[in-house]
């Protein structure tokens, strides 16, 4: 036991000395280990700070009360978790349910208690432009029980029922002297205050009972003073039909078994699929870090080969030799992990104000999640150890004679590992195929096998990388000298080259896989985008039965008279009287459309002008056919497949409320035109000329405002506020065609940036280490008359070899999960009840060739140029001349 310890102590001492002596290489490893640890630490700390866990922030919700109790009018069979507002609660809706009163609540809790009613919700108020939204809190703010819910910044808390206090964010929207609520109630603004939970948000604070309550926290709610409310009491109140947020329970939550059986699942957290993917991500990051740090240990091991050979010559065992290298993993891993955690916490502290700036919810107290951070630090240590393992094994198997005889280079490559690599890639392809199969099947859930396939493919790739490196060296005979030297030297020093190549490849694989999935997803969105209107036009829609269409039209004319707003008419759908329209071409099946409708408050447009079809957002061909038909006085019927034009029977029936049967209003047989629609989606069932509608005795009403000339952004803003003042249901829409989500663009940029940084990191590490390793060779080159800039050429050549082999390999490997994931991601079969209609793709694959070319060719060339430019151009002169 003590012998082993002594041997480790020797190894650790050698490792410490070595780390200090070759401090540049050690620094490199330290940075590689510390950086991911730092990033994860900072993110975890910020998340934990942002998160209100347990009793954190309880004052913001309860003031100084012991608990908040709330009830819903029709709630029965109440069950809740420790925190019913965020953790989950369940109830049944029963008309006869009688929730407890304030008296009952206080009696149940017992003891010396009192209650203050509090109501939270949302309301709308008049702004200079129209209507705005605000959150509301109504309670007695002068009562010490409510202290901590909001802080008064000027004026005084409301003293009567016609006074309110508002937040600065609300004042900024210019409500005027008084606050005018929807419905006309006017309230005097007597002060400003801010919510302690949300910043930069419009708030209205008033006395209890003044403001309406619509929200998640009950129809009735009270803050209850007195001693702690324990879980037992919470259950009692649940039985009465009330929900409880208790300070004592939040601080000491009940165990899962104490929860109602209905509630036990809700604390389960993430499901197994998410967990699998999370684990896979951690594994990928681990692989990447190990690969990046590996070469440094390989070079360290080589620089120590003489020491190791001497240890062996002095009678040391291979295990002792191994330990010397592993010990440097322990030393650097521990230092990197501690450094990463410390700097990560510091970074989180520094970033906190910046991140808070992007979130209206106020953060909790600065909170360091020590336990998870322990895991993160262990991750750093383990990655350093893993990175040292392969070099350690190789070093311990060094041929002592060869080392002492001055021969450099690695032992011959294993013949078995490339085969295992091929098998792994095969398994990855099979897993990906399985994922594709599952995605198009019913159950779904192809993501997990595909994510697994990504990791397996990367592992296989690591075993195949030596083959690629050696193959390139074989082909290098015809290359210019710096490249030939780089390729051959890379192949000779595989323990150093392969991890770097694999690191680049793993990065590129990730970028390519995500790139393919993102562009394919985007392709799906683009291809399946259904315009609601003709390009550039605008509309005002409202689903309500009694929408004030003349008012909308007047608003539109006021904002954009030049765009010629007009009313669209149709057979009104919805409403209390149900109107049914049927169209059937003679000799054709009954069903023509699998789905229609959505945007207009009708399923049949009655066109006074053929141009009214613009309101439907048809493609050019369909719109042209529809216009021609309407001009000829013929009805247009939409179909999701080709149907021959011809005589069709149109029927309109209606069913008034309380009537049992439909009554037929009219039926006609006319020549009609069938217009097939793209994407199997029709905006309405049919467009009828006014004459046909009249013959059918169909009720006709306004169903929308069309603005054929469109609206500018400013006009859209103005019209939106104007119609919002008329009705909250009104919507202004401007058809601008498919707009790529700006988040997608940002994600792509981040991907490209991350790819570039990691590739640069991997290439830089490998090249730097190769150059320091190749010092004797560079000295020889100098001695036979190489120009000083040859060193730059060799540096560039090295970067190019590592970058190019890595990126080509990575692109091939990344394509496996990348192509596969597009199936579950863009699968369309779920959209249709039956098989996917003709002419529609079942899924979308769009390969971002430009991005891949950039990553596979552009980035390696760029890094090679950077490397060549950054390399010292002086050749070492007399390094080996003794």
């Amino acid at each position: 036991m003590s012998g082993r310890l002594t041997s480790w102590r020797l190894a650790l001492r050698l490792a410490r000395r070595d780390a200090r002596r070759s401090w540049v290489r050690s620094g490199l490893v330290l940075v590689l280990i510390a950086l991911p640890v730092l990033a994860v630490t900072a993110a975890a700390t910020l998340y934990e700070t942002h998160q209100m866990t347990g009793s954190e922030g309880v004052d913001r919700r309860l003031g100084t009360a012991a608990a908040k109790v709330y009830t819903y009018r029709h709630a029965a069979d109440v069950a809740q978790t420790a925190d019913p507002e965020t953790g989950g609660a369940s109830w049944a809706t029963r008309r006869r349910a009688t929730p407890p009163t304030e008296r009952q609540v206080l009696d149940t809790l017992g003891g010396e208690r009192r209650a203050v009613p509090i109501a939270t919700g949302y309301l709308r108020y008049r702004t200079a432009e129209g209507m705005g939204d605000a959150q509301s809190v109504a309670t007695d703010f002068d009562d010490p029980l409510t202290a901590g819910i909001a802080t008064l910044s000027s004026g005084h808390w409301p003293e009567s029922d016609d006074e309110v206090v508002v937040s600065q964010a609300l004042l900024d929207r210019d409500p005027g002297e008084q606050l005018t609520l929807r419905g006309g109630t006017k309230l005097d603004i007597v002060g400003t205050a801010e919510s302690t939970s949300y910043r930069d948000t419009a708030f209205v604070f008033a006395r209890p009972g003044v403001l309406p309550t619509t929200g998640s926290s009950g129809d009735q709610a009270w803050l209850v003073a007195g001693g702690p409310v324990v879980w037992q009491q919470v259950r009692q109140l649940n039985d009465l039909g009330a929900f409880v947020v208790s300070r004592a329970v939040l601080a000491d939550p009940p165990s899962a078994s104490q929860l109602d059986p209905d509630m036990q699942y809700s604390d389960a957290g993430i499901d197994s699929a998410e967990l699998t993917i999370l684990v896979l991500i951690v594994v990928m990051v681990l692989i990447e870090v190990v690969l990046l740090a590996g070469p440094a240990f390989a070079v360290g091991a080589r620089q120590q080969t003489r020491t190791l050979a001497l240890i062996a010559a002095a009678g040391g065992t291979p295990r002792q030799a191994r330990r010397v290298i592993l010990a440097s993993g322990v030393v650097l891993g521990a230092a990197g992990a501690v450094l990463g955690v410390v700097l990560g916490i510091a970074a989180a502290r520094a970033l906190q104000p910046l991140v808070q700036h992007f979130d209206v919810q106020r953060f909790g107290p600065f909170d360091v999640p020590w336990l998870p951070l322990g895991g993160v630090a262990a991750f750093g240590l383990v990655s350093a150890l893993l990175a040292a393992v392969v070099p350690a094994f190789i070093a311990s198997r060094q041929n002592v004679v060869a080392v002492l005889g001055g021969r450099r280079g690695d032992t011959r490559a294993s013949r078995r590992s490339p085969l295992i690599g091929l098998v792994l890639v095969g398994v990855a392809v099979a897993l990906a195929a399985l994922g594709v199969r599952r995605a198009s099947g019913m159950g779904g859930g192809g993501e997990v096998p595909i994510a697994l396939s990504a990791v397996v493919a990367v592992l296989g790739m690591i075993l195949l990388a030596p083959v690629a490196v050696v193959a390139l060296a074989r082909l290098a005979g015809r290359l210019p000298l710096p490249l030939r030297f780089a390729a051959r030297d890379a192949a000779r020093h595989r323990t150093r080259t392969v991890p770097a190549v694999a690191a680049v490849a793993a990065t590129v694989a990730g970028v390519v896989a995500l790139g393919i999935s993102i562009t394919s997803d985007e392709a799906e969105n683009r291809e399946t985008y259904t315009p609601r209107l003709a390009m550039g036009q605008a509309s005002v829609t409202d689903y309500a039965q009694k929408a004030d269409w003349p008012a909308y039209l007047a608003a539109a004319r006021e904002v954009a008279p030049e765009s010629g707003p007009t009313l669209i008419r149709g057979i009104p759908s919805g409403g209390r009287t149900y109107v049914d329209f049927r169209a059937r071409f003679v000799g054709q099946p009954r069903s023509m459309l699998s789905s229609w409708g959505g945007e207009l408050a009708t399923s049949v447009v009655v066109a006074r002008d053929p141009a009214d079809v613009d309101a439907l957002g048809l493609d050019a061909e369909a719109a042209g056919r529809a216009r021609r038909a309407l001009a000829a006085g013929q009805p247009v019927v939409f179909a999701d497949r080709a149907v021959p034009d011809g005589p069709a029977r149109l029927t309109v029936k209606q069913q008034a409320p309380r009537e049992r049967r439909m009554t037929t209003l009219g039926q006609v047989q006319v020549d009609a035109v069938a217009v097939p629609v793209a994407q199997a989606y029709a905006p309405v069932q049919a467009v009828l000329p006014t004459s046909v509608a009249r013959r059918l005795h169909a009720p006709v009403a306004d169903v929308g405002v069309l603005v054929p000339g469109g609206l500018s952004s400013a006009q859209q803003q103005d019209l939106s506020e104007k119609v919002a003042a008329i009705s909250s249901r009104a919507e202004v829409y401007v058809e601008r065609g498919y707009q790529a989500d700006s988040a997608v663009v940002i994600i792509k940029l981040i991907l490209a940036g991350l790819g570039a940084v990691l590739m640069l990191g991997g290439t830089l590490t490998a090249t730097f280490l190769a150059l320091s390793d190749a010092k004797p060779d560079l000295a020889t080159l100098a001695a036979v008359g190489a120009r000083p800039r040859t060193r730059r050429g060799v540096a560039g050549g090295y970067a190019l070899v590592v970058g190019l082999v890595g990126s080509v390999l990575g692109a091939l490997i990344g394509a496996i999960p990348g192509l596969a994931i597009t199936y579950p991601l863009t699968d369309r079969s779920g959209y249709f009840s039956g098989p996917v209609p003709d002419g529609l793709a079942t899924h979308y694959i769009d390969i971002p060739w430009l991005m891949i070319a950039g990553v596979v060719l552009g980035l390696p060339l760029l890094t090679a140029l950077v490397m060549a430019a950054a390399a010292r151009s002086r050749l070492p002169m007399v390094a080996r001349l003794q």
């Binding site: 001055g406 021969r407 450099r408 280079g409 015809r478 000298l481 030939r484 030297f485 051959r488 030297d489 192949a491 000779r492 004797p776 060779d777 000295a779 020889t780 080159l781 100098a782 001695a783 036979v784 008359g785 190489a786 120009r787 000083p788 040859t790 002169m877 007399v878 080996r880 001349l881 003794q882």
Partner: protein, 241 residues
Amino acid sequence: MSAVLRLVDVHRTHGEGEAAVHALRGVSFAVHSGELVAVMGPSGSGKSTLLTIAGGLDQPTSGRVEVEGSDLVTLSQAQRARMRRTSIGYVFQGFNLIPALTAVENVALPRELDGVRSRTARAEARAALEEVGIVDLADRFPDDMSGGQQQRVAIARAVVGERRLILADEPTGALDSETGEEILRLIRARCDAGAAGVLVTHEARHAAWADRVVFLRDGVVIDESGSAPVDRLLDEPAASR
């Protein structure tokens, strides 16, 4: 006949002040075409320093170093590199082949670095390997060769492209005596063919291959002769003071 290499009052001091080491202190001598000069002296006497300065790998603190009439001291870095590619061939004790390159590629190196087309460079390299008798090993890598074979490759690399000055720093140090003799024979043959050679050695036997011997002690030439009793000088260094 003009000298291929001429050193005039060459000084070389490593370091400064207290720690200064005077490796060479006013060394002068010349080597002519067809001549092989042996440089002898005890370890630390400045032999290697002399050779690196003659090869333009190091600069003298003062003095002149002329190779084929041009003064290396006044040339730029790039011009000195060019001289090493075209005029000066260097052979080291440790062979100093590049392990990533095959024998023929190692030999072709100076020519290729000089911008000669790689096909031509390889043809010339094969000819040079032919000369040293190991053309059949042309496509082997250095690690797969014996020490003697590696040193032959190094000699081929030093002579390829008709270079007229060959500098050899204890080329036989890592070889057994028989192989060492063969290496010296090759260098001698090259000088007989018109090159000028400088051979650093500390073995009296090897000096027998030379036309002239230069003795160095503490950075000073203590004897330069073509016929001096070499053995005596070596055996009794103190006597010559």
